[in-house]
């Protein structure tokens, strides 16, 4: 028997020096968030009030729920532009169920299942037929919302049961809304899945090099399919929340949400090319977008002007580190 050398210990992850944490994307986002928070507090006397801050969270919770799943999808190198259309279709189906006399538990189940079904449809088209997700989901975006328009036309569904209102309007404790609790729980789950499980590792592997991942035994298509289903599922959940909050369904519900969710993901430091990103970043980006829109709202700035700030924020936050690196690199 020859002596085999003891297996060398390979650390699961490299020790990061403190400086890398300080110069990380998340740190930049924290600074931006604190700055906007401070500006808001000075700009409006109504800002630093528990109920104001609670209202603020409604600005981002629904979109952030989608953004978590979208983050995983974008990290894996795919994208889903149909999320807002899924919200519209799920909401329409819930509205139909209400007309048929369905109760709250059935409504919630329908909303979530329709979302899941739409996500699975996207996932099948992308993974089974090998189509580019950006085009597929532009198509399904028209299709899903189109079905909502066919069913509803210029009408609206109303008359949701009173108990259904809890999801979008209810509070769990004092100023802590149900939506905020759901946001926190989802953030923790997605953080755990992406950063602490082998599934999350595989998502990163696919995003960095899907062919290498395939040869390493990662079931690329199956994981992508699961991610599309997750995105659909989260859109279904968001649909329940929005429908409950608004108390009515129109086919134009949640128009433009897909771009806001993607903005949130990209602002959160997820590479649009795939392979990099963190849930903490998305959480911070959600807060920042909520702070900006709510703060400007308190100052009576119209929504369309707020969107300028969001757009500028997106480009500036992405451009800053590139410029910074270039200046330091002396180029």
């Amino acid at each position: 028997m020859t002596d085999t050398p003891a297996p060398r210990h390979i650390p699961d992850r490299l020790d990061k020096p403190l400086s890398s944490a300080i110069f990380s994307w998340e740190a930049l986002l924290v600074v931006v968030a604190i700055a906007i928070f401070a500006i808001n507090s000075f700009a409006s006397p109504y800002f630093l009030d528990p109920w104001s801050l609670s209202d603020l969270t409604f600005n981002f919770t629904e979109k952030a729920l989608i953004a978590f799943a979208m983050a995983l999808l974008i990290i894996s190198g795919e994208i889903d532009l149909s999320v807002a259309a899924i919200i519209a279709l799920a909401s329409t189906m819930m509205g139909m169920a209400v007309q048929a006399g369905a109760g709250t538990p059935v409504l919630v189940a329908i909303g979530i299942l329709v979302g899941l079904g739409c996500g699975a449809f996207n996932g099948l088209l992308v993974t089974r037929l090998g189509l580019p997700s950006i085009v597929v989901t532009i198509g399904t975006m028209s299709l899903f919302r189109g079905i909502a328009f066919i069913i509803l036309g210029d009408q609206a569904y109303k008359g949701y049961p009173a108990s259904f209102a809890f999801f979008g309007q209810g509070y769990v404790w004092w100023v802590v809304s149900f939506e905020l609790v759901l946001f926190a729980v989802a953030a923790i789950i997605y953080w755990f899945v992406l950063h602490r499980t082998s599934f999350g590792r595989r998502v990163f592997a696919i995003g960095n090099n899907s062919i290498a991942a395939q040869f390493s035994g990662v079931r690329v298509d199956r994981i992508k399919f699961i991610l599309f289903c997750l995105t659909g599922l989260m859109s279904g959940i968001a649909s329940v929340l929005i429908t409950s909050r608004l108390g009515s369904t129109r086919p134009s519900i949640a128009q433009g949400y897909e771009l806001e969710a993607i903005t949130m993901v990209v602002l959160g430091g997820v590479s649009i090319l795939g392979g990099a990103g963190s849930i903490l970043g998305v959480v911070l980006a959600a807060f920042i977008m909520g702070l900006v829109t709510f703060g400007l709202g308190l100052l009576n700035v119209p929504g369309i002007v707020m969107s300028i700030f969001i757009g500028l924020l997106l480009i500036i936050v992405i451009a800053l580190p590139i410029l910074w690196r270039r200046l330091r690199g002396g180029r």
Partner: protein, 325 residues
Amino acid sequence: MKAFLKYREIWLLAAIAVLIGLISTRFPGFADPANLRQVFNDTSILMILALGQMVVILTRSIDLSMASNLCFTGMVVAMLNAALPAIPIPLLIVVALLVGLVLGAINGFLVWRLNIPSIVVTLGTLTIYRGATFVISGGAWVNADQMSPDFIGFQRAAFLGIPVLSWIALLVIALFFLLMTRTALGRSIYAIGVNPTASVYAGIDVGRTKFVVFCISGMIGGLAGYLWISRYVIASVEVANGYELNIIAACVIGGISIAGGIGSVGGAVLGALFLGIISNALPVINISPFWQMAISGSAIILAVVLNARGERRQGRIILKKAETA
């Protein structure tokens, strides 16, 4: 004959012919030349926009800000016209082209110099340009009665029996055809889409070409801005909201690969016509216009499925040749 059938455009043309045939069974007047001319005129703006988007997509980029650019530029020329009706229309069109050019150049600069992916840049400018429309107009509309008769009438005037709007579309199609088939820039655009790395070795400045491409799509957005506003005679912040996806849909149906490098002027034009025919036909065959969105969505998905099959077959043939060699 086989080589002839390989062209995607032939199949698309056949699909359009079948579509017109089907519509004619329900509404015989549809295939009438006069009506088809009308459909062409109605689709002119979408065709122009699809061509602008095409050159961007060919270089593996995307311009989501075209509809917002259209909205902003349209508002600028409408306000100019309302304030100074004396400005001649050709000069206003030049203004529209220049304003669009500036907006496109901003996109192009960010993509070229800062290396930010185009989808991120134009996602940002999509909201910024539309927001800027609100800022310059203060949220007010410019209505038909504030526009000069020339402003509204220019594109409607008939020349050789065809409206000026259609002539502009034909001119733009001709220019893009020359650009893509007869110029070095056109070849570079295809080369970048097929293989960016090889393009660099071939001496193509990839970044600068992308900048130029965004300038082109910007100018097209600006031109379409004037045409849109003078056609629908209202300028507001809501103009063409969400239309960026229709433009991309026209390209996709026209067989332009979102992965870059594959696509033609004919494809983009036919893709736009396909959507235009559907939106024109629905009211005359008594289908609620609410169906349009779902139909174009299905058409997009179908087009992608068919295009993907065509591309895959090409790939296989190349592999077989390599095996036998």
